[in-house]
């Protein structure tokens, strides 16, 4: 770890947009991809005289993340104003929780690539509002869309506990999974729903003082974070070896060159002039309230993986695939609860369902497929009502929202396993093909294949091949 004789120290501040229905301080919808400024009102625009009221849902979502990260939830929260002037926020301040963050002293146990576990401590986490989006024109103007303004964020501030780009990467990936399974955000990187501010410094091994840190803001790709840190480790070590001072500054990551570029040197600390927000009521959080939120907290990915492997007999790799999204894991749990064989259900979701989602670029929850229908189809396979071959057609149908049993019946996709129905056909086919019986007795196994083919034809493909084979072989031996 580190570069040569230096130890790298990394701290991360991660912002995640929470998918509440409405904004933190106004009832405007939280929805990505709408027409510019569609989801804004006088509160979002910071008009004078408005009286914002905080969103209970945003507080509870924040509590879920705090609980999932084992943080202590503050019994008393008041809001603060963080002042800055920039067109992405017409209020000229961000409403945040500076003095009384929602949660403190949490941790995340991170599994590292070598299989070991590292505990990254969470210094604090708090709820605040996101800003709007600025697009800089080449004409000297900026163009502002305030749809995102006021979207609730959870900011998670780690202790400087990470010591390599790989550790930071693993932390971000696993933090994302923890958040996914709280149900507060899908944390879509490409939509900017999860972004990291990175602090990195180096110091000689054994030194008890941190080196001067460099900050990089708003990186929305874990790979970029890893690349930026790898570059900074080397750059800072080279500077120290050359006797040059590390300057406290903000840099940005440049993907084409996989390097970081200085943006500005900090002459003074950021001057945000925090002060208590007078327009919002303080919040008291009782143990009862915490208990209520804890009861609503979905089971984590890790808990589910352990259950799948130990109780349902699922392969560890498959358990990981099933817990890549909360929607998939919930779908799987419900399918099993609806009576499907756990392994078959896992195979369908990992194989056919994922292939379908990839092909159509759809999210599972947007499709017409339901756990009830998938379980219904699997039960039809399990009890021999349909063959796995017939199941392919039924699967196509349940993707379109059809009920599997009704569909199979209506389309003749029913396997015939009843010997009382099959036996007369076997007798008829044998009577009609004396030559094949001779061939069979003469040791030509090919004859059996021909006879099976005739029987499948007769049953319009619906005969249960296993039962059919047994009946045919028994009948042949008697002739």
């Amino acid at each position: 770890m580190g570069s040569g004789n230096f130890e790298t120290t990394i701290g991360l501040e991660v912002h995640v947009e929470m998918q509440t229905n409405s904004k933190l301080l106004s009832p405007s919808p939280v929805h990505y991809g709408d027409e510019p400024n569609e989801n804004t009102n006088v509160i979002d625009w910071g008009y004078p005289g408005v009286l914002p009221v905080a969103n209970r849902g945003a507080i509870e979502f924040g509590m879920r993340v705090a609980l999932a990260l084992h943080a202590d939830i503050s019994p008393f929260i008041r809001w603060d104003r963080k002042n800055y002037v920039y067109p992405d926020n017409p209020k000229s301040y961000q409403t945040t929780q500076s003095a009384t963050p929602l949660g403190k002293n949490g941790y995340l146990d991170v599994t590292l690539p070598d299989g070991s576990t590292k505990r990254v401590r969470i210094h604090e986490l708090h709820v605040e509002e996101d800003a709007g989006k600025n697009t800089h024109g080449s004409d000297g103007y900026s163009y502002v869309d305030l749809n995102r303004q006021g979207t609730p964020l959870i900011e998670i501030v780690s202790e400087p506990d990470m010591h390599s780009p790989e550790e930071a990467y693993a932390y971000l990936e696993q933090l994302r999974q923890v958040i996914l399974f709280t149900g507060v955000s899908e944390a879509k990187m490409q939509e900017g729903q999860m972004r990291a501010d990175v602090n990195v410094s180096i110091r000689p091994f054994g030194s008890d003082e941190y080196g001067t840190r460099v900050e990089m803001k708003n990186i929305n790709s874990f790979n970029y974070v890893r690349n930026a840190l790898a570059y900074e480790e080397k750059r800072q070590a080279a500077a120290v070896r050359a006797g040059e001072p590390i300057v406290q500054e903000t840099r940005r990551y440049d993907e084409p060159s996989k390097s970081t570029i200085s943006m500005r040197v900090k002459e003074v600390a950021d001057d945000y002039r925090y002060f208590p927000e007078p327009d919002l009521a303080p919040i008291e959080i009782s143990q009862e309230w915490i208990d209520k939120v804890a009861a609503e907290l979905p089971k984590s990915a890790k808990e589910r993986q352990e259950y799948y492997v130990n109780e349902l007999g699922i392969e560890p790799y498959d358990a990981e695939v099933l817990t890549q999204t909360l929607a998939m894991a919930n779908f799987y749990d419900q399918t099993v609860a609806d009576g499907a064989d756990p392994k078959r259900a896992a195979n369908y979701l990992i194989g056919d369902v994922n292939a379908y989602l990839n092909k159509t670029q759809a999210e599972l929850q947007e499709t017409k497929l339901t756990p009830e229908h998938l379980a219904g189809m699997i039960k039809l396979i399990e009890d021999g009502t349909i063959s796995t071959k017939q199941a392919k057609k039924v699967f196509e149908a349940i993707l379109e929202g059809e009920e599997p049993e009704a569909y199979a019946k209506a389309n003749g996709l029913v396997q015939i396993s009843d010997p009382a129905v099959l036996q007369p056909w076997v007798d008829e086919v044998l009577d009609a093909n004396p030559q094949s019986i001779e061939d069979f007795k003469g040791g030509k196994d090919r004859a059996v294949g021909y006879l099976v083919g005739q029987l499948m034809k007769k049953s319009k493909g619906q005969a249960n091949p296993t039962v059919l084979n047994q009946l045919l072989m028994a009948a042949l031996k008697q002739r």
Partner: protein, 102 residues
């Protein structure tokens, strides 16, 4: 009366607020802000060592809104009040990043 705030501090606060003043304006606001701070200096003579700090005067603890979306459809009126708009976006003079948070 001692100087409460320097011209440099006023210039700094003005720059944070993206405001620019000429000499006369800077003098005027230095004096006004100084007066305000003097008033607080008077208030600070009161012994408050035994008093809990007041962060909010509202007694309305846990006054919260349920998480229900309601679009007030004010976009057109709001954009009409913007200095300039272009394709439903608010058009503003570019401020270089690095001066502010996102």
């Amino acid at each position: 009366m001692a100087e409460q705030i320097s011209r440099d501090q006023v210039a700094h606060v003005a720059s944070l607020a993206k405001l620019a003043f000429d000499e006369e304006g800077l003098n005027e606001f230095t004096e006004q802000l100084g007066d305000i701070l003097s008033l607080f200096e008077t208030l600070q003579e009161v012994d408050t060592s035994e008093v809990e700090p007041t962060y909010s005067v509202t007694t309305n603890v846990n006054h919260l809104r349920e998480d229900q979306a309601d679009n007030w459809h004010q976009k057109r009126e709001l954009l009409a009040n913007a200095p300039e708009e272009a394709a439903d976006l608010i058009k503003v003079p570019a401020i270089l990043k690095g001066e502010a948070e996102e």
